[in-house]
Each structure stands twice: as structure tokens, then as C-alpha cells.
């Protein structure tokens, strides 16, 4: 965005402190616009006609450096692009890389449906939410427009996820577009050869379109030409070569495009970038090797500026690291990583329920909490203030100590004699070396739990209730 202080934004706002946006003052709202935690449309007065001019001006000044485009419709519509910085610590990255997994038009229908469902139903629980994947890319392998349209139809009947229609043949793309004309699919791709006809499709069907060329001069030419024709929802594919010097050069093109777009403000190429890790399958035929290498390519381009990618492997060992790395890179570094220290109830604990200790590192805490609640273990869970550091590191670094554990229960007014029948506390397995200290400091019986909270259910079966001494 072109503005960098709340004061600059404030000048364009109504300055009436009506608080309709939820902030007490226009200046506070301006600060939220700068850190992008609120949108201009959250301000009802500025939407009125009298402010129209300022609204339009401010909207363009607040627009992210990289164009944000939408693929698909309804609740599954997905935005890509929208970034303002080159490094996540400078603000945060917006619109996590959209992961599209492929299907192709020569698949037998039952297989096609099964594969689409697998893509749509993938989920991995993580810190209070599910990590999922976003889109289905339909590839035309047959070369037959009718066959392609049939596959697109079947996919769109099976899932509401946004689609990418993939073919270099405009007639094939058109057949696909006819089938899902109201679903706002992304079309792949316009090239140096077919751009005239593909641009017609983008205009006629009003859909976002990918421009493909590993030559950045040509890619920029295509982008300029499309923009001139009024097509602004563009995605750039500078080519993802799967190995060797070609891969190194692919990597460099991603860096160059994004640097030009954000650091140098080159609007002509400031569009979302697409990567195709699927190309790993062009060189590796063994499924495990290809899946591994595809995951490697996906990782490189998740870290360095891929806004959308097309992938093939649905193996859990490929998808799990992919979704986790995307979360790693796109997690907002500005949000706190700690939970409030204290003693919390999980389920409905009674006097016979265990009392379990963990740290206040959000990730640790939520992991333990979800392991307990999903296995329906009623208990007390203490989040000890370890400065937001995980158990193992906090024990090594002295942030998790017997004194801190005692302090946590005292501050929470948690009396073991009153609240429990067993006077016992369970330490994480990775904090086993604190056992003696904790016994001395608290006078409680101290048991050592498993090193990973996923094993608490099994541990409970063997060890709980504690046997009388």
C-alpha cells in the first residue's frame, strides 16, 4: 500500500469519531487500516455519497502492492495475492498460498469422484483449527474438448471448491468454461501462442487467467497486453522447472517478479505468482521419489512467493508437510503466541480427575488441550508461564521450574487438598528431570506423563487412578 502512517490515512476519513466501525476514534480506525486488520468498508459513513471521492482515492492508496484476485464463488471462494512485504516479519503475508490438486479428463469417473472427494475432505487439526486444501485443477490430457467439459462437469457436481481449468487449447478451455460459467474458475493458460483467443475467453466469461512464460520479458508483455485489453485478474506462471540449473533459474524468476512488484512498485507485473510443483512428476516416475520432490518444490515456492500452486500427490506424507509449511509462513507474526497462565478445566473434572501441567506456549497448550478434549479426558490443565516457550526448551532454559509450577497453582487459588482426592500432579515426560524439585517445593505426589500428549490416553489406562503408596 502507498500509505504508511495512520495520520496519512486519517486525512481521508470522515474524522467524526462516530465509532460505528468499532473503534472509538477515526485515528484508531486508521491504525487498523494501516496494519490491515480492518477494511475501509468497515466505516459506514465513508460509503456515503458525500465521501465518495475520498473513498475512491483512499481505496486505491490502501490497495496491496500485489493485486488480490478471487477464484471461485461463495463460501469456498479463495483470494490470492494481496501482499505488501517481502519478509513476513515486516508485517505479515496475506492470502495463504492456494493449493490446487489435479485431476485429469482421462480418469474413469469413479476414480475422478474419489480423488475429488479426497482433495475436498482432507483435513489436519492444528492449533484450534483444521488445515485444508483449496482447489481442484482439471487437466486436459485427452485433447478432446467434449471429454474435458464432461470431466469439469463431474468435478463441479462433486465439490464446491474453486476450479482451475488447464489446457493450452482455447477450444478446450471454452468448453470447460461453458460448463462452469458461473463458478468463476481460473483458466490456465495464455501463452505467447494462444493469447489472442484466451484473452477473448477471459473477457467474455469474466474469469481470472494465468499467463505462462518462463521468459520474463514475454511474461511482462503478456501482462501489459492483457491489462490494456481490460483484463486485470491475472496470475503469472514464470515456469517451475523441476531440476538442475533450470530450477535455480525458476527460483530466481520468482524472486525477481516479487521484488519488482513490492520493492520497486512495478505495477505491470504486480500479480499473484503460480508455481507448478507437479512438474516433479515429469522427471521422477517412482511415486515416493516424485512425491518427495514435489513436496520439496512446494516448500521452496511456499517460502519464496508462490501465491497459488498446482500439485499432484495426495499422499499424506506430501500433504501434511505442505499444509504445515504454508501455515508456518502465513501465520501472522504479530499475534501473541502465549495463552494466559492459569489452571483450566478440560471437560468437567471431579475430585478424582488428574491435574496435568504444561507450558503457556500457545502451540503446546492447544495441542495438549485438543488431545485431552478429543479423547474426552476430564481434567485440570495448568498452563505455566514459561515465557511462551515449549516444555523441552523451557526446562533446559530455566523458564519451567518447580517454583513457577507452584506459583501457577497459588495464583489460581487451586488447593489440591480441596479440589482433588489424590494430591497428585502430572508433569510432561519432557520435564521428568523436575520431578524431585516439584515434589520438594509443592509437597505433592508427582507423576511423569508421556513425552507426547497424544499418548496421554494410553498412559491414563495404565497409570490412572494412581495406586495408593
Amino acid at each position: 500500500m502507498k500509505l504508511n502512517s495512520p495520520l496519512q490515512v486519517y486525512k481521508y476519513l470522515p474524522q467524526i469519531n462516530c465509532a460505528e466501525c468499532g473503534d472509538a476514534t477515526c485515528m484508531a480506525f486508521a491504525a487498523h487500516l494501516i496494519d490491515r486488520s480492518k477494511k475501509l468498508d468497515d466505516c459506514p459513513p465513508i460509503l456515503k455519497d458525500e465521501y465518495k471521492k475520498k473513498y475512491v482515492e483512499l481505496l486505491s492508496l490502501l490497495a496491496p502492492e500485489i493485486r488480490e484476485i478471487t477464484i471461485g464463488t461463495g463460501e469456498h471462494a479463495r483470494k490470492i495475492g494481496g501482499d505488501d512485504v517481502l519478509y513476513r516479519h515486516q508485517l505479515t503475508f496475506f492470502d495463504p498460498t492456494a493449493f490446487a490438486y489435479d485431476v485429469w479428463d482421462t480418469m474413469p469417473e469413479p476414480e475422478l469422484v474419489e480423488r475429488v472427494n479426497k482433495i475436498a475432505n482432507f483435513r489436519k487439526f492444528y492449533v484450534g483449527k483444521f488445515l485444508k486444501v483449496d482447489m481442484v485443477a482439471v487437466r486436459c490430457v485427452s485433447g478432446d474438448a467434449i471429454k474435458f467439459a464432461g470431466a469439469v462437469k463431474k468435478v463441479s457436481e462433486t465439490t464446491k471448491l474453486p476450479l482451475i481449468l488447464c489446457s493450452f487449447d482455447p477450444a478446450v478451455l471454452k468448453a470447460g468454461l461453458e460448463t462452469v460459467r458461473d463458478k468463476n474458475p481460473l483458466i490456465y493458460a495464455a501463452t505467447e501462442k494462444n493469447w489472442g483467443e484466451v484473452s477473448e475467453l477471459a473477457l467474455n466469461y469474466k474469469v481470472p487467467v494465468v499467463l505462462f512464460s518462463p521468459d520474463l520479458d514475454k511474461l511482462k508483455s503478456l501482462a501489459l497486453t492483457f491489462k490494456e485489453m481490460g483484463i486485470k485478474d491475472l496470475v503469472l506462471d514464470p515456469g517451475t522447472y523441476p531440476q538442475g540449473k533450470q530450477l535455480k533459474e525458476s527460483f530466481e524468476r520468482f524472486i525477481k517478479l516479487r521484488r519488482a512488484g513490492i520493492k520497486e512498485g512495478q505495477k505491470d507485473i504486480a500479480y499473484p505468482i503460480m508455481s507448478v510443483p507437479l512438474n516433479a512428476w515429469l522427471v521422477y516416475k517412482d511415486a515416493v521419489t516424485a512425491s518427495y520432490w514435489e513436496t520439496v518444490l512446494a516448500s521452496v515456492f511456499t517460502v519464496r512467493y508462490g501465491d497459488i500452486m498446482i500439485l499432484h500427490s495426495l499422499e499424506p506424507y506430501a500433504m501434511l508437510p505442505e499444509v504445515h509449511l504454508r501455515d508456518t509462513i502465513y501465520t501472522d507474526p504479530r499475534t501473541p503466541v502465549k495463552v494466559a497462565p492459569g489452571v483450566n478445566e478440560v471437560g468437567s473434572p471431579t475430585k478424582d480427575s488428574p491435574v496435568i501441567v504444561t507450558t503457556n506456549f500457545a502451540l503446546t497448550y492447544y495441542t495438549v488441550e485438543s488431545d485431552l478434549s478429543s479423547n474426552k479426558i476430564n481434567c485440570y490443565l495448568a498452563a505455566v508461564d514459561s515465557d511462551g516457550i515449549g516444555v523441552e526448551a523451557a526446562v533446559a532454559g530455566g523458564q519451567l521450574t518447580a517454583a513457577k509450577i507452584k506459583d501457577t497453582f497459588q495464583k489460581a487459588n487451586f488447593e489440591f487438598k480441596e479440589k482433588t482426592s489424590h494430591n497428585t500432579l502430572i508433569l510432561p515426560g519432557l520435564a521428568a528431570r523436575l520431578q524431585g524439585d516439584v515434589e520438594d517445593v509443592t509437597g505433592l505426589r508427582v507423576m511423569i506423563g508421556p513425552p507426547d500428549s497424544g499418548r496421554i490416553p494410553g498412559w491414563m489406562e495404565k497409570n490412572w487412578p494412581p495406586k495408593p503408596k
Partner: protein, 438 residues
């Protein structure tokens, strides 16, 4: 106004499209007696239209839209404002607009990363056959701004006693677990380790409380077993480590080993002193905190007098899904600060990539959560967890990787050396990837 590409132009009455072309064919100076009331909606491009028709009509509608806007402008209606100041109408082009792409290099990267050599050959007073040079970068890793002078290196873990480890890892070492020397030989000979890390974990008073003198013997055995540079790791016990590393440093005098680690919560001065006295390199270890890293580096240099070429940093590696976001950004910030002139941070970095195996996704048989999709076989999950953790940090600027699984080592080497530029392969044509049969 533009709504989803539809141009709503305000006009007096409805006019047939065909009439419009002739009506406004020439220059229009003014229009009288036309009131602006109703809406005429001109839709550019009807989905499903015959392409030729659409093309022809497209031309017409484009022209009409332009004309209509002109009329509005003449009548004083703020067209440009309505359109957000971008009133350019779509038009068909028959030739690509020629263009050249260019982008500048990053000017602020003026300070190179310190170069650090691990290992010493006989000409330098050691017994290693080869040495490993880290650092020297003048840009983020693999960037085009400046070539990376040295590739990434991998040191593989060896422990001085059998330890618990993930099944997928353990199966590779069962035959050598009781002999650190054999273990070291195996990782160099069979798994392509550039270096070996000997972890003296048995010295922990809570484990075996092995004496520093005995631990030093293990180090000597490893030095005799392999001729690559080595890392000497303590047990992580802050009371015991300084004594253990001191004795080990003495036993390895002149070999330019990496002593792991000096940290703020132990007697780092004693470790620094041992490095200076016996010609080794100090690993400056802090926990995900850039300011602590600055502080410790400063203390090692100013207070302990460790030379710049004898410092490597370990800013802490958290596993993928378990804080890698902090580890990644911490390293990236450290590297950017170093390149931009912070001489307390421009040192090469090392990552305990093995920490990836702490992630339950790396070793657990299946998800403990019933709502998760199937996690698949763990044998494949573990190595890729280690790879992605390491690869992510390599992109942030990490130079040396401490690793465990042979497959993870192979794959990380392959990708980092590809991005570094030393992997030659046959060119691949990706122009028809869309129709590839996979």
C-alpha cells in the same frame, strides 16, 4: 460504475445498439435535450456467445461504451470519478505489447557474512583430510544478487551411547549404536555426511555422569575413525557441559572442531577459553531471540576475545508445525541484519534439524485425533519432516545442518545444491505439462 465488468452508462432512453454506432460515429461536441435518467446496461461479452459474434460485437460495444462515456463527460457527469479515474475501455489487440523486464539488486546488502573454516588439515596443524568453509554470502541464499561462495553442509549425529529415537531413524543405526567410532564411519561412508557430530550425552549427571576425561576419549576415537571435520556436542547440562567441552577440546587440539555450545545460561567464557587455547570454533547458541544472539556474540568477541572467524551461531531450530515460524523468521531477520551491516550478527548459522523428529507427525503411527485425515505410513512422514524443516531454514540463511536420517540428508543435499547451482541435469521441457500422463 464498474460492477463485475458491466458498464452501466446513464442515458436518456433506450437505444438499439445498432443505432448507436451510426448515431455517434463522428465527433460529438455537445448534446442537447438529453436528460440523464434511466440506465442502459452494456454488457461486454456475453458468455456462451459465438466467438466470432462476440468478437465483432465486442468491438462495437467497446466503441459504444467509449462514446457513451464521452457523452456523459460532455454533460458534466463525473465519469472518471465513477470509474475510479481509470476510464480506459477494454479493446482488442492483435499484437503483443513489446516489453522488457528488469529488476535491480538489493543495495543495502553491503556487509558479507563472516567466513568460518571447520576442520584443519596437516598443513594447518590438524589431521583432517578436508575442511568445510561456511559463510561468505553477500545476499540471501541462492539469490541472483551475488553468487553464494560455499554450498550448505551437513553434519550427521552420532551419540556416545544408545538412545531412544524414532523407529525410521533407528533402523539405520542399530548395528553401530554401541560404538561411536563405527557409527561415525557409517554416516560418512554410507550416508555422505560432510561432517560428524559426536553428542556426549552420557556425561549428563542424570544419565550416566560419564567423566569429562572418558568423554574426551570418545572424541579421540571419533577423530581417528573419520577424517572429516567434527562437531563436539555436550549433553545440554549447563553445569557439566563447560568441563566436558573443555576436556574434549584439549583432546582434539588443533582440529578446529565446532564446540557445541556456548550459551547465556552456562559458563560460556570457559568454553570460549577452551576454543581459543586449543584452536576450535565456538557455536553461539541462543533460543529464538535475536537480541540474545547479539548479546552472546558480543560477549564472546568483546569479553572473551574470540576471533570473528571462530564463531558460528545456532539461533535454535523448532520443528515444522512446532514453532518453525519463529525459527524461520528469527534466522531470516538475523541474516538480513548481518547483510545490512550488523557486525554482531553476520556469522554463519547452524541448525539442529534433527529436532524435526520431535514433531509427532514425524514418528507417531497415526493421528491421535479422530477428525484428521489418514496420516499414512510414518516411515515416509519422518524423513520429509526433517527435509522440509531444514529446507525452510536453508532459505532463511542457514549454512550447516545437523541431521539424522540418511534419506533426509540425500534430499536436502540435492535441493540445496540445486539452488546453489552445482547440479547439472538434462534440460526438461515443461511446455506441455498440462497434458502429461502421470
Amino acid at each position: 460504475m464498474i460492477n463485475n465488468g458491466k458498464w452501466d452508462v446513464i442515458m436518456a432512453k433506450k437505444i438499439k445498439l445498432s443505432e448507436l454506432g451510426s448515431l455517434f460515429g463522428g465527433e460529438i461536441q455537445a448534446l442537447e435535450g438529453v436528460k440523464i435518467e434511466g440506465d442502459v446496461e452494456i454488457d461486454l461479452g456475453q458468455p456462451g456467445m459465438n466467438p466470432q459474434m462476440a468478437y465483432a460485437l465486442g468491438h462495437e460495444t467497446t466503441q459504444i461504451a467509449l462514446h457513451l462515456m464521452n457523452i456523459s463527460r460532455i454533460l458534466g457527469y463525473p465519469v472518471d470519478q465513477m470509474l475510479g479515474g481509470q476510464a480506459a475501455a477494454p479493446k482488442r489487440l492483435t499484437k503483443l505489447i513489446e516489453s522488457r523486464f528488469s529488476v535491480g539488486k538489493v543495495e543495502e546488502w553491503k556487509t558479507p557474512i563472516q567466513q568460518v573454516i571447520l576442520g584443519a588439515t596437516s598443513s594447518d596443524g590438524g589431521t583432517r583430510k578436508s575442511t568445510v568453509t561456511l559463510g561468505g554470502e553477500s545476499a540471501l541464499p541462492y539469490y541472483f544478487d551475488a553468487p553464494m561462495p560455499h554450498r550448505n553442509y551437513i553434519t550427521m549425529d552420532v551419540f556416545d551411547m544408545p538412545i531412544n529415537m524414532a523407529k525410521a531413524v533407528k533402523s539405520n543405526y542399530e548395528d553401530v549404536m554401541n560404538s561411536p567410532a563405527e557409527w561415525a564411519k557409517k554416516v560418512v561412508r554410507d550416508f555422505g555426511a560432510d561432517m560428524v557430530t559426536i553428542h556426549l550425552i552420557s556425561t549428563d549427571p542424570n544419565i550416566k555422569d560419564t567423566s569429562p576425561a572418558e568423554a574426551a576419549k570418545t572424541v579421540e576415537e571419533v577423530l581417528q575413525a573419520v577424517d572429516v571435520p567434527i562437531v563436539i556436542g555436550g549433553s545440554g547440562n549447563p553445569e557439566k557441559d563447560p568441563a566436558v567441552l573443555e576436556k574434549a577440546a584439549e583432546a582434539a587440539e588443533g582440529e578446529r572442531c565446532l564446540l557445541a555450545s556456548a550459551s547465556l545460561n552456562l559458563d560460556y567464557a570457559r568454553i570460549a577459553e577452551a576454543a581459543k587455547k586449543y584452536n576450535h570454533v565456538v557455536l553461539s547458541w541462543t533460543q529464538l531471540e535475536i537480541n540474545a544472539q547479539k548479546e552472546l556474540n558480543r560477549k564472546l568477541m568483546k569479553q572473551c576475545g574470540v576471533a570473528r572467524e571462530n564463531i558460528l551461531m545456532d539461533p535454535t531450530t523448532a520443528a515444522l508445525g512446532y514453532g518453525l515460524d519463529y525459527a524461520y523468521t528469527n534466522m531470516e531477520r538475523i541474516r538480513l541484519a548481518g547483510l545490512s551491516g550488523d557486525t554482531e550478527l553476520n556469522f554463519p548459522m547452524s541448525s539442529g534439524t534433527t529436532n524435526a523428529w520431535g514433531a509427532r507427525e514425524a514418528w507417531m503411527t497415526s493421528s491421535p485425533l479422530k477428525d484428521d485425515s489418514d496420516w499414512g505410513p510414518r516411515e515416509y512422514r519422518g524423513p520429509i519432516w526433517e527435509i522440509v524443516t531444514g529446507l525452510t531454514l536453508s532459505l532463511a540463511g542457514n549454512d550447516l545442518f545437523m541431521m539424522m536420517h540418511p534419506t533426509a540428508v540425500q534430499v536436502l543435499k540435492e535441493i540445496t545444491q540445486t539452488l546453489y547451482g552445482s547440479k547439472e541435469t538434462e534440460p526438461v521441457n515443461i511446455d506441455n505439462w498440462v497434458s502429461a500422463v502421470i
